[in-house]
Amino acid sequence: MRSSRRREGISKLTGQERYVDDLTVEGCWWGMTARSPVARGRIREIRFGRGVDWSEFVVVDHRDIPGANQVRLIELDQPVLASDRVRHVHEPVVLVAHRSRQMCRRAIREIEIVVDPEPAVLDYRIKPTPEQIQYGPDNVFKHLRIEKGDVDRALASAAHVIEGVYETGAQEHVYLEPQGMIAGEEDGVLVVRGSMQCPYYVLNALMHALGRDESHVRVVQTPTGGGFGGKEDFPSNLAVHAALLALKSGRPIKMIYDRSEDMGSTTKRHPSLVRHRSGVDSQGRLVAQDIEMTIDGGAYVTLSPVVLSRGIIHAAGPYACENVRIVGRAVLSNSVPFGAFRGFGAPQSQFANERHMDRIARTIGMDPAELRRRNLIRDGQTTSTGQVISDGTDRVEVLERALCRSGYAQKKEECVSFNAAHPYLRRGVGLAAFYHGSGFTGSGEVYLSSCVDVAGLEDGRIEIRTANTEIGQGTLTIFATIAAERLGLDESQIVIAEPDTARVPNSGPTVASRTAMVVGRLIERACDDLRRTLGLSEADTGQRLRDAIMKWWAEHPDTEPVGHARYESPPGVLWDDQTYRGDAYAAFAWATHVAEVEVDLRTFATRVVGFWAVQEVGRVINQTLARGQIQGGVVQAIGWALMEDCVWDDGAMANAQLTNYIIPTACDVPSIDVEFLENPYPHGAMGAKGIGELPMDGPAPAIVNAVVDALGVEASAIPLTPERLMELVTHG
């Protein structure tokens, strides 16, 4: 297997890569945002102080929006700029532009947004009072339900019934490059360039808010310094803001958030509360899973319904159980809207499930690995939605490899003797078995109907045109490998088009672990179509293909040869959105992770001292990139599990800076051991399944299970900070 070097790697290592803040645009002014000071209320007045000369500024409010004052996404409830009411702290109200960034900062300080407060929802777990209702009859954005078998009857006859409640906190993405956009009109076309995952989401939002058609708006992705979901939905808001200032000022506008504005005002991972009630038989087999999941949606709907959907579909874990009921709710609170974040609800629901599996094991006196071994889904068995799993992957082997690689059994024994001997350090080992569905949920990919073009260029090279973005995960390299492999060419002969909505078709968003598997497969099919266009057969590769392209150009100098592909569902994949039954995903990736921790009883700090990640992700296209996805995801999940704590103060993030929102450094984490088991998936590019989100799902429960193993306390909420652990150990 080839493991090509990252295409833009040297450019990044030498600092030559040009991100949006690095672009110099002639005549460009800076844009900045004035925001709500309170969580909820009615805007009474906006005061402009005398500390600056306002004639030097361009000021935009909701009255300057030519189209709809709505951020276009699933629902249209979020305004571009608040008009009469605000629903969260830092909600944007007024925009200013000036040639000097310093002057913009001064102007923002001179703007006072006077709000008459209204009763705000500051804790999503508490039933709202009538005065707090802001959405529908009950502040519930979305209800979802999965039913399989007869849960109540199975619980009534189960040998053991085990209950548990689990909570997870908000998590900030901390992409190292903050949000940024440049907008300006070029020959009557509004052009937006910036940091984003999904150019067509931004395009649609601009068309909707500006009242323009597609021919008068163009969106170009600039090299993007990390996304993790944080640049899936939010960039639409910032792009529209920059565009409004550009249209009013008649100049290009650059808006770059500084870190505290970024952390305070942009989306984060949904907090969650999950209740489990499980029935097991005398052999430790799951006979019933009764699960209730509530997620905090924040102030507006944004992506919460689909986060909830992925959350509940993964809530029962990779286990076979004939009686499952999962009820999900996404509810409003007056905090910043929670949005997409790597894993998209599945890390939350699988944290609960994998903690709960350990609770079951402790209750019935079975080793946690043995409990999972008995319950892992076998080919021919079904998931909670009734999807028959038959991909040929041996999920028990995935578990056994992780146990073997980590030396799980021996480590468990060593921990016992270590803990007996040591005055204040305690060690423990924990594991999590989990899965992650690749691509959009249910019929999502069919609705997206993604398109890819592959063109033969005049010089004989091949150009791949997709809207999928390189955000660090390796899109450019993977796409080049896929096309080169398909066409029998050297990767130097492959050009990847810049994601520019004026040039590339809508191949769907860069989310949901879909890029390599789904879009990569479209590239393969578009390559085949290009060969058909050129009159070649599938056996024609390399030089023969190049010759055919050159010949085409000689004969048709005005028309380039292009191969097209549009998404087609793999045969036999059926999903019913009404009943939530059927094939939730075309493919799943499977994993078992093992963590070893050491807790210092003097400080209650938990260190992860060993971590082993075994997963089956289909065929691995690039070992270095795939390993990087797993290691990076595991470390991001270590942060979520142990240290990343969003502190809320009247609806505002009180620690919106890297000084006191702590993410892992190199010193805080061990080397992450990675092994791939490869079972090629026939409908993914080169046999690949999705990989990017999987490693976010398992580490948190594996780590907390290890802490429970070390201390014997039932920790059930993350982040498991030293403060929280001290409370648990000293007060139970």
């Binding site: 290592l13 030498t14 030559q16 190292l176 990087g628």
Partner: protein
């Protein structure tokens, strides 16, 4: 200081002498990026936590977002633009860069470690690199690449001596 509040300073930048009229409160990071057009140095947090803006000042890594330009007067500053790309292949092969936003800072800290192998007698690589936050790699790619680069450097040195 002249009437506009600007001061003249001189410093050595990537081996060459530079004379500048600057606002004395300006951050070294802004001088590099906005006055001198050296866009390789990135701003990640603006408060000295993430290390994305790391440059070497008299050979020692500093967060350029925390250095008022007057403190750089007469100093030797090295930025990512001074790094020889031939030295970067170990980092490239190990997967040390993903999104690239932290990378210039990581490379500058790595360059400092490579220039001072004696640091490894008293500190581990993870400790030495703990001033650079990376959200993509989980650090294995960075630490592995740096270890390989140090080893290759030692091998070259012993060949030279041999």
């Amino acid at each position: 200081m002249d009437e506009c509040g600007l001061v003249t300073i001189e410093l050595t930048l990537n081996g060459g002498c530079v004379r500048l009229e600057v606002d004395p409160g300006e951050r070294l990071l802004d001088t590099l990026r906005d006055r001198l057009g050296l866009k390789g140095t990135k701003e990640g947090c603006g408060e000295g936590e993430c290390g994305a803006c790391t440059v070497l000042m008299d050979g020692v890594p500093v967060n350029s977002c925390l250095v008022p330009i007057v403190q750089a007067r007469g100093k030797r500053i090295e930025t990512i633009e001074s790094v020889d790309r031939a030295q970067l292949s170990a980092l490239l092969d190990s997967g040390a860069t993903q999104c690239g936003a932290c990378t210039p800072g990581v490379v500058m800290s790595a360059a400092w470690v490579m220039q001072h192998p004696e640091l490894l007698h008293t500190h581990g690589l993870r400790e030495l690199m703990a001033g650079n936050l990376c959200r993509c790699t989980g650090y294995d790619g960075i630490i592995g690449g740096l270890a390989a680069a140090i080893e290759a450097g030692l091998a070259r040195k012993s060949e030279g001596e041999g």
